[in-house]
């Protein structure tokens, strides 16, 4: 049962890719519907067994690598996090598949497209069900490659090629940092599986909990085998087992027990910052945060169902998933959390500022995706792991809804994406406008839609931070004020989200007077798109209300068995000494805490809000009356995307790279020095001796001679 969710997308891929030619379309539709529907039911069953009944499941596949101390087993791991992600991925994948049946129906390479989509789902499921970082890395890279192929799907367009290359290169930066992190993890912890790293990275390790101690001794067994090998014995003898002569297993246990805590402290001090920074960088690359955020809006060149599945709901959330999986490691160093929080806040600000002035309907939604991902990032920085995951959960549904309905509107408008040219469409496609409006309201956080529940929790989080006494280890007073100022960026983002959502809605619904583009509707729907959008409308309006208690309700114990999100220290130690505490603690211990919010903070919030309303209104006025808009510096800054794309990426980086590699490396070194001094002079020198040129016939005779002579020699020797 637990292997099946991986098989079905793979079977889909194989059917479409290799045998798609031999079937007609109706058979393929049936197969895909049945396969992914079954997959949804299986994932719901897994959700029931794992999350609700609380039985964590492992499926051991095989040993991938066994070399000295290095042993990597491929295992599928199902805990609460995985089960919830499975539900999200399968439902949205189903909707995207179903929607594409109608959306891509006229395309020549229709079967190829569907196979790529299924392959993407397969890799995403591998990423989610990974037990160790290596399996996660397989999914991580495979998802990137599928995204490259799907962005580049209409490959005759130059813009699609450019954005696909940009996407894969930005992803590759993240991949390489993750690879480096994997290397350090392997060398430090001697293992890549999340449970083992979790128990080893913990400072207060061996106490009364049975599960912990079992794993602890399991690892001690491993340590014994390390010591017998020469490679690690050296290291241990330097660091821990000073001058130790190992006779039997008991001796080893005692020695390692004695020196174990020192050893772990050593890990924490030196390596955690390196590993944490690398992991955060990888997540930044995948989730399109500040610095590497450029590829996500550019990736909108792909077909719209692809944008809804990959660039809104699943692939870009892989970075958040990585941070959630490694939260136990990241929260041991305060610096990393600070970095995560600031990255999230600044991304929110920047993506909103750019998104407000965009006119392409898909790019606006892409920038809003960027800012929503930034919310998840920022809440991870202040221990709101569950809040972050809940936002991921709801955001996937309403963002997929937005993209799919936007795609339909684009189809109707004869592939016109500019919102200034889209109008009057309400009259003939009521359902699709309604779906777009539901999505917009959900993303704005209008009460009782799903966005409200998740967003409100994230914004509350930072205001609660000061009241929790035991967080003083992480955040002192000065840092706290900085955090509060950063939090204003998030509040500003709400305004921006509101602004562009309303802008698109107004443009879609209302008639304009000065319309010069009269676009005739070209396309009408069938039941497939209707079904997929209907599912998503229901999900994005109700899922927040229905599952709020499941995720963030008080007294819920479903996160208890998700070890990366849950610290066993909580049950072991007293409150005062413990520094590893997160938001889940409050939920788990049946505490209902109502926090005070300081007056000063509220005042600051309002001041910032008014300031920004004033600024935006000014901009809006400029925009509205066309007064000197191109001389406005702020406008230019926003519309040119903070000069990052043109000035840094194109002018400085790419052009310099290519010109220098031509001028210095190729022309000067390869064709200059090396060829001159090493080959050209040498050949000239040899030409002085007048070597006769070999003829072709004679050379083959030489060869024959050599063969015969070698055979002869062997013959003689055997005799």
């Amino acid at each position: 049962m637990y292997l099946l969710p991986l098989y079905f997308p793979l079977i889909n891929f194989i059917i479409y890719f290799f045998f798609g030619k031999f079937f007609n379309k109706i058979d393929l539709v049936c197969s895909i519907c049945i396969n992914i529907m079954v997959n949804i039911f299986i994932s719901l069953f897994i959700f029931y067994e794992v999350s609700i009944l609380g039985s964590v499941c492992e499926v051991i596949l095989y040993t991938w690598l066994k070399l000295d101390w290095l042993e990597i087993n491929l295992i599928l791991y199902y805990d609460n996090l995985t089960a919830c992600m499975l539900v999200v991925i399968n439902i949205i994948s189903f909707c995207a598949h179903l929607y594409s049946l109608e959306y891509m129906e006229t395309d020549v390479y229709y079967r190829q497209y569907m196979s790529y989509l299924s392959l993407f789902t397969f890799f995403m499921l591998i990423l989610v069900t990974a037990e160790n970082v290596l399996q996660l890395f397989v999914g991580w890279e495979g998802v990137g490659i599928c995204s490259y192929l799907l962005i580049n799907f209409w490959s005759t367009r130059l813009q699609a090629n450019k954005s696909a290359i940009l996407a894969i290169i930005a992803n590759k930066v993240g991949d390489i940092t993750l690879l480096f992190a994997i290397v350090i993890l392997l060398v430090v912890f001697k293992s890549l599986s999340f449970p083992i790293i979790y128990y080893l990275s913990d400072i207060n390790l061996c106490n009364s909990n049975i599960y912990t101690t079992v794993n602890y001794y399991y690892y001690l067994d491993n340590i014994y085998t390390f010591i017998t090998n020469g490679d690690v014995a050296l290291e241990l003898s330097n660091d821990v087992v000073d001058g130790l002569y190992v006779n039997n297993i008991k001796d080893t246990y005692e020695y390692v027990n004695m020196n174990y805590s020192n050893y772990t402290h050593y890990f924490n001090d030196v390596y955690n910052i390196h590993i944490g920074l690398l992991l955060v960088l990888a997540a930044i690359g995948k989730s399109a945060q500040i610095g590497l955020h450029l590829w996500l809006p550019e990736a909108m060149e792909g077909p719209t169902p692809v944008s809804s599945l990959i660039h809104a709901a699943t692939m870009v959330t892989a970075g958040i998933f990585l941070i959630l999986r490694f939260s136990f490691l990241l929260e041991q160093t305060p610096v990393i959390l600070c970095v995560i929080f600031t990255v999230g806040c600044f991304t929110a600000l920047i993506s909103t500022c750019i998104g407000v002035l965009q006119h392409d309907i898909k790019k606006v939604i892409a920038y809003s995706t960027c800012s929503q991902l930034a919310y998840m990032f920022a809440s991870c920085g202040v221990f709101g792991y569950v809040n972050s995951f809940f936002h991921l959960y709801t955001h996937a549904f309403f963002k997929a809804l937005l993209f799919l309905s936007a795609g339909y509107i684009i189809h109707i408008m004869n592939n016109e994406q500019d919102i200034r040219k889209i109008n009057q469409s309400l009259n003939f496609v009521l359902f699709y406008n309604i779906s777009f409006i539901v999505g917009s309201l959900a993303i704005m956080g209008i009460p009782f839609l799903s966005g409200f529940y998740s967003k409100e929790n994230i914004l509350n989080l930072i205001l609660q931070l000061n009241n929790i006494n035991f967080l003083s280890y992480y955040v002192n007073e000065y840092l706290y004020t900085v955090y509060c100022i950063f939090n204003m960026f998030e509040l500003i983002t709400i305004l921006g989200t509101m602004y562009y959502s309303v802008k698109i809605m107004v443009n879609i619904i209302y008639k304009k007077k000065y319309n010069i583009y009269f676009i005739i509707p070209t396309h009408y729907s069938n039941q497939y798109t209707f079904v997929s959008l209907f599912i998503l409308i229901i999900m994005s309006s109700l899922i927040g209300y229905l599952t709020f208690d499941f995720f963030l309700g008080i007294g819920q114990d479903n996160w208890q068995y998700t070890f990366p999100l849950m610290n066993y220290n909580l049950f072991i130690n007293e409150l005062d000494t413990n520094i590893f505490i997160n938001n889940n603690w409050i939920i788990l211990n049946n505490l209902e805490i109502h926090f005070n919010i300081e007056d000063f903070l509220l005042f600051l919030t309002f001041v910032y809000l008014f300031l920004f309303v004033y600024l935006y209104l000014n901009l809006f006025q400029l925009f509205w009356y066309n007064i000197n808009i191109y001389n406005n510096e702020l406008y230019n800054l926003f519309i040119l995307k903070f000069y990052v794309y043109q000035l840094w990426l194109v002018d400085l980086l790419s052009i310099n790279l290519f010109y220098n590699s031509f001028l210095i490396y190729y022309k000067k070194l390869e064709k200059g020095y090396f060829e001159y001094y090493f080959s050209y002079n040498a050949v000239n020198f040899l030409k002085k001796f007048n070597i006769a040129y070999l003829k072709t016939y004679s050379s083959t005779e030489y060869l024959l001679f050599i063969l015969i002579s070698t055979l002869f020699i062997i013959n003689v020797s055997i005799i």
Binding site: T63, W64, L65, K66, L67, D68, L70, L134, F137, V138, E141, G142, I145, Y148, L149, N152, S155, T156, L158, A164, I165, I168, I169, K172, V173, I176, L179, F180, I182, V183, I184, L186, V187, D231, L657, F658, N660, S661, F662, I664, Y665, Y666, L669, F674, F678, S679, V683, L694, T696, S699, T700, Y702, L703, I706, L707, I713, I714, V716, S717, I718
Partner: protein
Amino acid sequence: MLVSFNKKDVVLFISLFLYILVLMLWLFYDNSILYYQWLFNIKIYNLYFYFGIDGISLFFIYLISFLIPLCLLSLYNNKKNSTITFLSLLGLELLLMFVFISLDFLLFYLFFEIILIPFFILIGIRGYRKRRIFASYLLFFYTFVGSLLMILSIIILYVLNETTNILILSFLFRSYTDNLILCVLLLISFAIKIPIIPFHIWLPEAHVEASTEGSVLLAGIILKIGFYGIIRFVYPICADVLYIFAPIISILAGLSILYRSYSTLIQIDLKRVIAYSSIAHMNICILGLFSFNVHAITGVFIILIGHAFIPGGLFFVIGFLYNRYNTKLLKYYTGLSMHMPIFTYFFIILILGNISFPGTSNFLGELLILVGLYKVNLLSSIYNVMIGIFICTLYSILMCNRILFGLPNNKSILVYKDLNLLEILILLPIIYHIFWIGLFPLSWLDIIHYNIYYLFL
């Protein structure tokens, strides 16, 4: 008989028979023995020459016997010059086998030299342009310089120890300075073969000018003789002085990676791009080899094995393109995915192998090398490798994008023809091997595991 055989068929059958023999060899090979297996000797004029196989040489023999039938198949429908090249390829196969099974330094040198002649012919006769003469001379003389240094070191060894048998040489005494001199001579002679930075001019020329099967064999096997030589001869003979040269070789290899990667970015010849990327990968292997770590050296072997399949497959694919359109320049090819889907899929899979996609052989090798380098704290080397991997992605994807995607160019290419059955049959086993090593590496690692430990004993 109803079926009539011509010369080509006979040669093909012989090579396939050899492949089956090598598979039997692998089947009956005992993993648990540290030492050489199937030792036998021949006596020539009171000199005993030893032959034998361990896990390391078994792999190279497997690669040779695997690649040669594919090369023969790729030439099968080619009517120009084919019988001569068929025979020279078969001769090359036999001679390369001798290179890898001889346990005597002198015999190794002999066969190492002799394979230059068929290679000289392969490039000189079967090449495409007039520049091929220049390229074959470069190949010949660069290797010849290395060989001179090697014969010098063999003479020194024989004078000092009165034997050239590698089974004995590692246990005999030589003074520190003697070993130092020997190490320098041998390292330079093998560095030319790999090639490391100042001696690398011959390889791109040879790759570009050689025909398809020449490039495949060059990338697949000839480059690895350098590594094989270092592991089989330099490691045991100069074990006490090798660590002195580790830093300078690491620096040179790191520089070669950066230099090769950057200069690949602007190449317009398809074969040149792959030749350069193969040099970059070889230098990553050198970094691993001189970290003296078990994991890194295992990773080196994995890359060496996988490197026969990935650039080999790419050279085959480009050869198929060349057979159709007679050009290897990037600018004539655009939008092939529109009309040649099977070609597109094979090319994408091979490019994925080149950029070390997890699940292919290169990924496993690079991971193990990085682990080994981090274990011995060679951080600068790690950064070099990282930059190499990143830029490898850059130029691979750029090349892939230029050829496969974009608007089809109807001026230069008028008739599109997808891969035929023979070409698919050549590429399928290559791709099977790439994923076999990547996904189930234990069957490969078991064999070399003990031999690598034996290096450090």
